[in-house]
Structure formats: structure tokens, C-alpha cells
């Protein structure tokens, strides 16, 4: 599961939805892997505004990844300033790093724990189990 997805995932239990502690889910015993994909600059630009940066930093530090900068990069930072005009925009180093963190770093095994109710969602082979027992729906 990509780190990008983790920045959007909340606890599935209804009573948790209203509390801010249900987001983000905290990884436990996590095993990470890198799956290389093509960089998609237009997508990065559109998703950038939707990210919750502080939570992304929290998750990264919980995974033990290098710390991210304090503030989120601006959309203009993603384009390489050296690329000549008229040509297609080429991604900058910031864009490449962001792509690496969000779309290539994947959680393979482990658990996701809700900060509010403590429910554990198991992650196996990158697939998280969000099926709830009937009494929690």
C-alpha cells in the first residue's frame, strides 16, 4: 500500500469518523518495499494540495524514513526551472523525491492501528483488511 493511500485512509468504524484521532492510522510492525513506477508530474501537481502534510511527516517518522521538510512544497517547486520553455516540463528533484515517498514506497506487511479505538487492520502482501465484524459497523 502506497504512502499516498495512507495519507487518505481513516478508521472504518462509524464512531471513529467524527474524531480527529482516527486519522492517520498508525503503522505497526511494518515492512516497507520500493516498487518503481513512472513519474506522473500532472498527477503530483493535482494531488499536492490535497495532502495533509503534517500527517505525512508523522507517518514517515513512524516508519523511520528520513524526515520531510517542515512545509509542503509549492506546485512551482515540482517543475525543473532549467527546462527550456516550449518543451514539456521536466520534474525537479523535489518532484522525484515526492514521487519516491508517495507512490513508490509501499507498506507490504504489518498492521494499521486506529489512534482512537485501537482497532488493528492487518496488511498482508500490501492488501489491507478493512472488513469489520458486524457489531462494529
Amino acid at each position: 500500500m502506497k504512502l499516498l493511500t495512507l495519507n487518505f485512509l481513516t478508521c472504518a468504524i462509524k464512531t471513529c469518523k467524527s474524531t480527529p484521532a482516527s486519522f492517520p492510522l498508525h503503522p505497526r510492525d511494518a515492512e516497507l518495499e520500493i516498487a518503481e513506477t513512472d513519474l506522473n508530474l500532472a498527477f503530483l501537481k493535482s494531488i499536492l494540495a490535497r495532502l495533509l502534510w503534517p500527517e505525512l511527516r508523522t507517518i514517515c517518522s513512524e516508519f523511520g524514513l528520513p524526515t520531510l521538510p517542515e512545509s509542503r512544497p509549492e506546485p512551482a517547486d515540482l517543475v525543473d526551472p532549467d527546462s527550456s520553455e516550449g518543451e514539456e516540463e521536466s520534474p525537479s528533484q523535489t518532484a522525484r523525491d515526492l514521487h519516491r515517498v508517495l507512490l513508490e514506497t509501499c507498506m507490504r506487511e504489518g498492521k494499521l492501528v486506529c489512534g482512537n479505538c485501537g482497532h488493528e487492520y492487518a496488511v498482508k502482501e500490501g492488501v489491507a483488511n478493512f472488513l469489520l465484524p458486524a457489531h462494529l459497523v
Partner: protein, 280 residues
């Protein structure tokens, strides 16, 4: 035609052998890919988006979402997140190494994403499964409403969702679309090849706000073979208060009605329907 929904719950019906059969059948692959392309054309995406695939199964539709523009996906490649209730189906998807993130989840239990996550959502041949409840402590209506409420919250303003499904009958079609409307969506039903055995029903949903122009009728405007059936009352055409009960126009109309019936009616004068002066 037998309906798999009537036989078993989805997580049991799509076991290992059934999932493999479903995924390797070239006929089903063709139908699924046609429907995904149709859904994408209804979504009308303009830039690479974040898409939710409800009931993604073995990723037949997801594969199309992650294709690039040259391969025939408008504004692709998109990033998608899929969920499905059948672990065997997801197993097949893992073997195929699809690019989207997969979840084992029941759409009838809600959509566990924070508000405004997705640009769009698609669902191909899945939500008819929500019309069945497997235990007595849940109901089809409850499952549908949880799903649509969750979906509505997780789409950004101005987002769209297209759900293709196989309704069992008109009643079911109505139940699904009403659940969507209740959740706040602007909903429209679109039927391809109506009246034939291969009729396909698409539920096109819009979330208000954003850059979307107007309502659901804006989506299908200019499309071939689409009749817009707009049953909403035209409140704009009728001037407000013109015919309100007790107003002069209303009294005059009623008097005419009575006269036509042959009743004795007082003549209309400048005093008709006038307010009495406050005496004190």
C-alpha cells in the same frame, strides 16, 4: 438468466476457481473493458486523477485506469485505489501485479477514506451485490445508504462517480438511485441497449460545487441517444406567490370555477381579495 447475487454472498461466490474463470474469460474481459471505457467517457476527466474503484475484483477495470493516454484512457494514467470483498479476486489481482492499491473491504460497510480524497469513482458490475443482506442485523437499504454516504463524503466537491450495475428489476433500480439521491448526489440513470438482454445500467452521480456546470443533465448534454427525463418541478417558471391561497388571483380563479359550476357568485370588484384595514 441466473443471477449470482441470488446464489451466494459475494465473498463466497467468487472463490478461487470462480475468480479465475471470471478473469480469464475473454468474453467477460471484453464486456468489462467496454463498460470501463464507457464509464470513463461519462466521468469526462481532464487531468490524471485519483480514482476509487468499488468492487475492483481482479483489477480488470483498474488496468484500464492505469493505462496512458496513448493506450486509450482519457487523461490517463490515473492513480486508483480499489476495494473488493472477495479475497480470491484480490489474489488474482495481486498475481497480475496491478498498479492500484487494494483493500479487502465491504462497500456496504462504508468507505474508509477522509473527506475529499477522490476526484472520481467508478464501479463496474458491483453495486447490485449491495441489494442483498446476508444476515438479519443488516438491510439492503442500510447497506446502500452507508455506501453512498461514505462515497459522497470521500469525493471532492465537483467530483463524479459512475456505477454500472445489473438491477434485478425496476424496483431495485429505484432503490439504488434513491439511496444515492438521499446521500446528496445528483443522480441520473443511463441505459445502454435498453430492452435487450445486454442492457447495461449506469448510475451517473455528481457531487455539487466545484467547476461542474449545473446538474446531472449537464453531463449527458450533447450525447447521442440520450433522452433527458427531467421530472423535477419547474419552480422557476411559476412566479412565487402568484397563485398563493388567499391571494386575489387565487380568489378570482376560484370564483370562475364556481361560476362554471352554476353557483351564484358575487361580482368581482376592486374590493375583491383586499385586506381589511386594521380596525384598532
Amino acid at each position: 438468466m441466473s443471477r449470482p447475487e441470488d446464489l451466494l454472498p459475494p465473498d463466497l461466490f467468487y472463490n478461487d476457481s470462480e475468480s479465475r474463470k471470471y478473469t480469464t474469460s475473454s468474453r467477460i474481459q471484453k464486456i468489462q473493458s467496454d463498460m470501463t471505457h464507457r464509464a470513463l467517457s461519462l466521468l469526462n476527466l481532464t487531468h490524471p486523477s485519483m480514482i476509487l474503484d468499488v468492487g475492483c475484483g481482479s483489477g480488470l477495470s483498474g488496468e484500464i485506469l492505469s493505462q496512458s493516454e496513448e493506450e486509450g484512457t482519457p487523461a490517463g494514467p490515473h492513480v486508483w485505489i480499489g476495494f473488493d470483498i472477495s479475497s480470491s479476486m484480490l489474489g488474482v489481482a495481486l498475481e497480475k501485479e496491478v498498479e492500484g492499491d487494494l483493500f479487502l473491504a465491504d462497500a456496504g460497510q462504508g468507505v474508509p477514506f477522509r473527506a475529499g480524497t477522490f476526484d472520481a469513482a467508478i464501479s463496474i458490475s458491483a453495486i447490485q451485490w449491495l441489494c442483498n443482506a446476508e444476515s438479519s442485523d443488516e438491510s439492503p437499504a442500510g447497506r446502500l445508504s452507508r455506501f453512498f454516504n461514505g462515497l459522497y463524503a470521500s469525493l471532492r466537491r465537483g467530483g463524479r462517480a459512475v456505477c454500472q450495475f445489473y438491477p434485478k428489476n425496476d424496483e431495485q433500480k429505484k432503490m439504488v438511485s434513491q439511496a444515492a439521491v438521499k446521500a446528496g448526489f445528483g443522480a441520473g440513470l443511463l441505459e445502454d441497449d435498453p430492452g435487450t438482454k445486454n442492457a447495461k445500467t449506469y448510475l451517473v452521480l455528481t457531487v455539487g460545487g466545484g467547476e461542474l456546470d449545473g446538474d446531472i443533465t449537464g453531463v449527458v448534454k450533447g450525447m447521442d441517444g440520450v433522452d433527458v427525463m427531467d421530472h423535477r418541478r419547474r419552480t422557476k417558471d411559476r412566479k412565487r406567490g402568484e397563485d398563493r391561497k388567499g391571494s386575489k388571483a387565487w380568489i378570482v380563479r376560484k370564483k370562475e370555477q364556481m361560476e362554471k359550476k352554476g353557483k351564484v357568485v358575487k361580482a368581482t370588484s376592486k374590493y375583491t381579495g383586499r385586506k381589511r384595514r386594521i380596525a384598532f
